[in-house]
Structures are given as C-alpha cells and as structure tokens.
Symmetry: C2
Subunit: 447 residues, 2 copies
C-alpha cells in the first residue's frame, strides 16, 4: 500500500477510499493483515492520526476487523457488506483544480445545447399567466399539469401508458430513490446491479435500505440469482445498464417480471432511454407489468443536472402508500419550474430540443467510435443506445488506463470504479461517457 | 363515538383520525374498551370493513391493542407513542370543495404581495448572465453565491454571524428536517414541542427519528423536563412557538443551551422571526452557542411555500458529517432559483419586499386584534411577534369554536388540533394565523 498517492486536501478520506477500493477489487484478500498504523504512516509520509481515521472508518463500515494485539484484517465476505454512503468514487476529489481537455466522467449537457431562451420565455409566461395558484403549496405528488404533460409525453415518445394520477414528481432521481425506500417498508432489501452508478446504492443505504449486489454479465443480471437473492425489490436499467452498457434481452425480462409477481417490486431506472441513437427504444418493463414496476426517469440528461427534475410512475398500491405517508407534505420541486416544464412538453419545445441534442450526440459518437477503433488492442462494445460505451483495452489495468489518459489530459473511469462489491473480469475496461461533449469541442481536441 | 360525522370520501381515514384525536385529547381513556366493529358500524351507518380498517391502522400505530375474544382497548401510555406520519390534521380533507370567506389555517403569501415582476426580472438576468456554470450539478450544500448572500442577510437583519460555508440550502424546512435526522445518527431521539406544527413530528418520524413530546407552557418547554427526557436533540422555536405563540425567556434559553453542552444538539426553527412586527427580534439561540445549535429557516413565509427554499446553519461537526454523507450528491434546489434568490438578497429587493409585507400584516393584525377584543369572553395573547396569535374563548370547546366559525364561513383550528401527545388546559383556544390575509381582503369580510 506504500504506492498510494495521498496528495490533496482530505488525506484520511483518500486513504480510506484507496484501501476500500483495493478490498473490493480483491487486491487485498479476505483475512489479509493490514500494515500497522505507524508503519503505514511512515511509508506514506502522513501522520498516524490520518491512518487511524481511515482504519476507523473502514472498521465502522465493516470492511476490516481489529484483533486485539495483532492488528487489522480484511473482513470475510465483504461483498455482503453495503458500500459506503458517500458514493465510492475515490477519484472525485482529485478532479478539483485539475483541467482536463476531455472529460468522459462528468455528464452535464453542453451549454451550447441548452435551450436558455426557450426556458426564459416559458418561465416568463408562467409568471405572467400566474396568479394565486402560483403561490400555493404544491400537492405532494406534484403539479397536476406537469403530471398530465409527462403522461402525454411518455405515450408519444415511449409508448408508455401511465395514468397522470400515478406519476410523482421529485427533485431528481436520487431524491426519488429515497422515497421508494419508504414505500417498500422498513429496511427493505433492494437488489442492485454491480457495477452501477454508485449513487444508486449509496442513496438507498442512506435511506435505510439493505443492498444486495448482483453481478452484471452479458445480458444484465442473472434472473435466477435475483430469484434466490431474498430481495424485496430490484433496481435495474434494462434498456442500457450503466456503466456496462448491457441491454437485458426479452427472455430475461420475462423472468425478471416473474420475480416481482410475488409481492415484490421492480424499480426500472430508464435514465437515458431518450438517447437510443439508432432504432426504437425497447419496450419498458413497466409496460409489461404496470402493477409491479416502478418506472423512474429524470430530465438531468435531457435538460440539465442543475434543474433537479425527475419523476416516477407508481403501481396503484404504492401510490396509495405514497399518499398515506406524504400527502400532508408539499412537493419539493418549485412550482414555477414544474409549470415551465409542462409548457415545454406540451408546446413541443422539449422534443425539438431533444432531437437537436441527439443529432449532436450521434456525431460525437461517430467520431469517438472511429477514434477508438483505430487504437491497437482496443475493442468497443456499443449497442447504439445511450450516451456512453465501454472500451476494453487489451492487457491494460485500470490504473494504467487512467494514468495514460491523465497524461494526455483526458479524464476517464473504468468499470471497476463503479463496483459496489467484488466482481471479476472487469479489469481494463474504460467507460466512455460522452454526454458532456459536442462535435466541435471534440474536434478541437482530437484533430 | 356514535356522534362521529363520517361524511366525505375517505371514511375509514376520517374515523381513524377521529378516534385517534379522542385518544390524544383524553376523551377516550387508557384501558377503555372500544365498541365492537359491528356495533360501531351500525351506529355510524358505515360498513364493517370501514371500521375494521380504522381499527387496524390504530392497532398498527399502537394507539389501541386487541385482546382475543374481548375486543379492542385504548393502549396505556399513548403519549410515548409517536404521532402518525400523515400529519395528524384530521380536518385537512374537509377543506376540499368548501369555500371559506376567511381562512386562518392556510398560510400562503397573498398574491397581491408577491414580487412577481422582480422575480421574473432576476430570473431572466440569471439566465442571460448564465453560461456553462448554470448547468452543473449544484454542490450538495448549495450554490456558494446564495450561501454567501444568506450569510450577509442574516448578519444585516438578525445579527447572526454565520460562515457562508456552514450554510446548507434545502428544498424547504421539512426537507431539511429529514437531513438533520441523518446527521444526528441512527434513530435519534428528538424532543419536540407539544403542541406543534404537526409536520415537524411527522417528518422526523418518517425519517427514522423517535419523538419525545414536551408540553409547552408559559415560556415554552420546561428546561428540566428537557434535561431529563433522554433526548439527543430538541427542536424548538424560541422566538415564537407555533401554535401557542410562547416566547422563551432568557433564563430558560440559557438552561436549554446547557442541555446541548453534553454532546446534544438544539434545532432552532426560526420560521417567522422576520415578522416581529414591533421591536427587534430576540437574539437567536444560535448566536449564543453556534457549536451546538442548528439554525433553520425558510423563505416559505416571506416569499411563497411553492418555492421550496430553506436553509440551515450547521455546527462545524455536523457540517463535516453532512459533507461525508451527502457531498457526492447534488443539491435538490434548482440552481436557477438559487441564483435568482441570491440576486434578490444582494440587490436589496428582498428587504424591500419584506417591509411591504410587514406593513400589510401590521394592519391586518390591528384590525383582527381589535375585532377579537370586542368579542365577549375572548382573551387574546399577542406578543407582537410572527403571523398568528391565540384567542381563548371562555367556556367554549374546540368543536364549538370550529363549528361556529364554519357557520360564519371561517376556517380555523384550535391549539388541540396541533397536539402530538395528550396535554391539558388547551381547550377553547383558537389559533388565528393571518399570514394569508391582506387588509383589503379582511375589510371586505368584516365590514
């Protein structure tokens, strides 16, 4: 562990993250003894307190155990332990202060493509149409006009038939995950794809759920493993799993639906289905079984993460539970925003914006896939869906990939960075998320 | 119980609420036997299923217990049981469809007083100044410009010195209550004023906290009771308790601060301190002990509940914990809104708006206190603070007050409606919340 690089402000946290990462990736094996605090502190040139804090946190989260007079050891069966609540993204801090020419991690809409003038106009319209209605507390499940507009949009664009009533508006996907935990009961067990967008598992944990990681292989998670997992619900993105890019085949979809028949639920996170760049999006699980599937999506990818706008469709029983628990509270999304978005959807502005976005991303993808295809030893798996693909670099380790990329001014993460429990066979796979790029920006860097 | 009036849609819920209310108010005593399901159903002219559902819910929440073959009984020590998560406001449903000439319950800013044109102008400015920054995920604790603007405003208006860094922006007070529970640890015990704004206790419960109700008497809660309560934290509004209107005297403030010295925290909910209509606001508890007090406030009363804008100042240790738990997530308040509010505060627009609001409310209060002073047997307690006062009607019960008011087209609640545990001596006190009124509207009804 003496090769750890602890630059940056929060040394204890970085050290904690690095050790945890090594445990999850299997570099530190079950039962293996950790260096003494003093020894490691001397090796790394940090204070003993820093090492102590890092060990304490690993201890508290159950990654390691302490044995009196003999030291610290990697705990057995760490995959059954929940990942930490803070997202498990050790690199996040290193980004600050460093300028990248190309960023394949951060996914915000390019500024050139955001419809500022449309949004300003619609917002002004909302305020001037306004009146008393604008100042009321919004019902817990959201502004009815927006619920109706989303229902209409889902039908037009995705063939989903959802009663407006059962749509619930929330401040982004993570916010809605927290609500779902409350709807599933006390400390529900939720099966989560591994690897995954780590905020999924961390938000569930923070809200009191227990996490059961299921490894993603070709075609997504294994329905039999799910069936035997003891989970009360499963969270998945069958249309385009992040970060693996796997698409769940129809045969598996039906088996997954079967899991939910016995009082259990499926949380279908359709986070980037709008961006199927070739062909039609696959039918949603929700459409197959609206009574057992919670469908969830946001406008973070299509508009901007700063807008905090998401929604879910709840099965009837869960909608009733939602209203029992929350109907006395107000919806947390500002009403002005909800009405402006309703105008945007109803007026066709959103779909015009989306088609402009898709044209841009399609071009970005062509440039990138061509560039990667030319690299020696590089195989890309791209199924024409979503805003990222995976590039496997033969013989390279994750660390080598990231180091090389960094040397070229490129920020990238690997599949291994999204693990929430150990999994094999993922080494050497870069996740190329191009949602923050435009063809113009890309050409400036590449050519 | 045969006098219950179960009109309206949701009969089981109404019945449940009425029985629960009678238990909390002591009309149904500990150990008392409830009527049989069939008997009560026949009495009330509803189906047995309706009674069954109501009993089931009371049973699930621990208000009653069932004894085999002998029926249902009021549970002992119900005050130690948490109030229900749905807010304990049985009247809420009756409002729908009924038009009131005067509403002393709902508290939204009168439309005439909302600065629509200023808000529209600032919002447009934000969008046109904009650029890439506008689309980023907002840091978990909020947009730095708004944090700075709030810090400056608090110093100008309230003499509170708060480092901008330690201010956390959230989607309204209830949202922040939920976060506080996470910061206090696993299932923390929070002492809450009784009676109180029932969403306080219901939100804490929903977030996993345990509630310890402390009765409010003259001068607020009793510091000794607090000291002996076993609570990890206490939630209170020392400047102007809702609904009693009590102000915590300085002697009690110091004792309450002492409670927090031993690793415990005070949550100071300063929800309407901007509206001290005569004299200066009292010094905040936060200013006395910034290391142990969480200060929390919103713009729901000063701007609009539909805007979902609140903030809290965290003690250093809790701020660190907040960043540990949440720093990987995004703030849930839309960035556009945060920047527009920062412009409003920095440009002095907010304080101009506030002074206009206060002038209007001052006039409303004069009209109302004069009108109530003329009613026979009516004593009002008004300490010049906030947007409500309490009117005690001699010899009247809560039900009589509400029924009489309703007959005159007036919607009102009583202190007893805000109980979260049994308390004595509160019968016959109407809570006159005038935050939704203007002098013009009031004159139309009164004269």
């Amino acid at each position: 562990m003496s090769y750890y690089n602890l630059s940056g402000k929060n040394k204890y946290y970085t050290l904690y993250s690095l050790i945890r990462g090594d445990i999850l990736r299997g570099k530190l094996k079950e039962g293996e003894r950790l260096p003494s605090k003093r020894g490691l502190a001397a090796d790394l040139g940090v204070s003993v307190v820093t090492v102590e804090q890092a060990y304490e946190q690993l201890l508290a989260e159950g990654y390691i155990r302490s044995e009196e007079r003999s030291g610290y050891f990697v705990e057995r069966g760490v995959q059954s332990f929940p990942p930490p609540a803070h997202g498990g993204e050790p690199e996040a801090e290193e980004v600050e202060g460093e300028r990248f020419k190309l960023d394949f991690v951060d996914g915000r809409t390019p500024e050139e493509l955001f419809p500022f003038s449309v949004w300003a106009r619609l917002f002004r319209k909302v305020l001037s149409d306004g009146g008393e209605h604008l100042l009321r507390r919004v019902p817990a499940d959201g502004e009815p006009r927006l619920k109706k507009a989303i229902s209409d949009y889902l039908y037009r664009s995705r063939g989903i038939e959802a009663e407006p009533k059962r749509i619930v508006i929330g401040a982004g996907a993570e916010f809605l995950y927290g609500i779902i935990v409350h709807l599933l009961g006390v400390n529900p067990k939720i099966a989560v794809e591994n690897p995954c967008y780590t905020k999924i598992s961390s938000t569930y944990l923070l809200s009191g759920a227990k996490i059961i990681p299921l490894n993603v292989k070709g075609g997504g998670i294994c329905p039999d493993e799910l069936q035997n997992s003891g989970a009360d619900a499963v969270h998945l993105s069958p249309a385009h799993q992040f970060p693996t890019g796997e698409v769940t085949p129809v045969s598996n979809r039906l088996k997954i639906i079967n899991f939910a028949r016995e009082g259990r639920y499926i949380i279908e996170d359709d986070y980037d289905s709008e961006f199927r760049l070739s062909g039609k999006p696959l039918q949603s699980l929700y459409s197959l079984c609206p009574d057992r599937v919670i469908y969830i999506n946001t406008f973070s990818k299509t508009l901007a993460p700063s807008m905090r706008l998401g929604y879910m469709i709840l099965p009837p029983a869960l909608y009733e539970k939602f209203m029992q628990l929350f109907s006395q509270g107000a919806n947390v999304v500002p009403l002005f925003e909800q009405l402006a978005l309703a105008e945007m959807l109803d007026g066709g502005f959103f779909e015009r914006h989306l088609s402009r976005l898709k044209n841009s991303y399609r071009e970005v993808r062509q440039i990138l896939t061509a560039a990667f295809a030319n690299e020696r030893g590089c195989a890309i798996s791209d199924n024409g869906s979503g805003l990222h693909f995976v590039a496997k670099i033969e013989g390279a380790t994750d660390d080598e990939i990231k180091e090389t990329a960094r040397g070229r001014g490129v920020r990238v993460k690997c599949l291994g960075d999204y693990l929430i429990a150990p999994a094999e066979g993922l080494e050497g796979c870069a996740v190329i998320n191009y949602s923050g790029l435009t063809p113009e920006r890309l050409k400036k860097v590449i050519y």
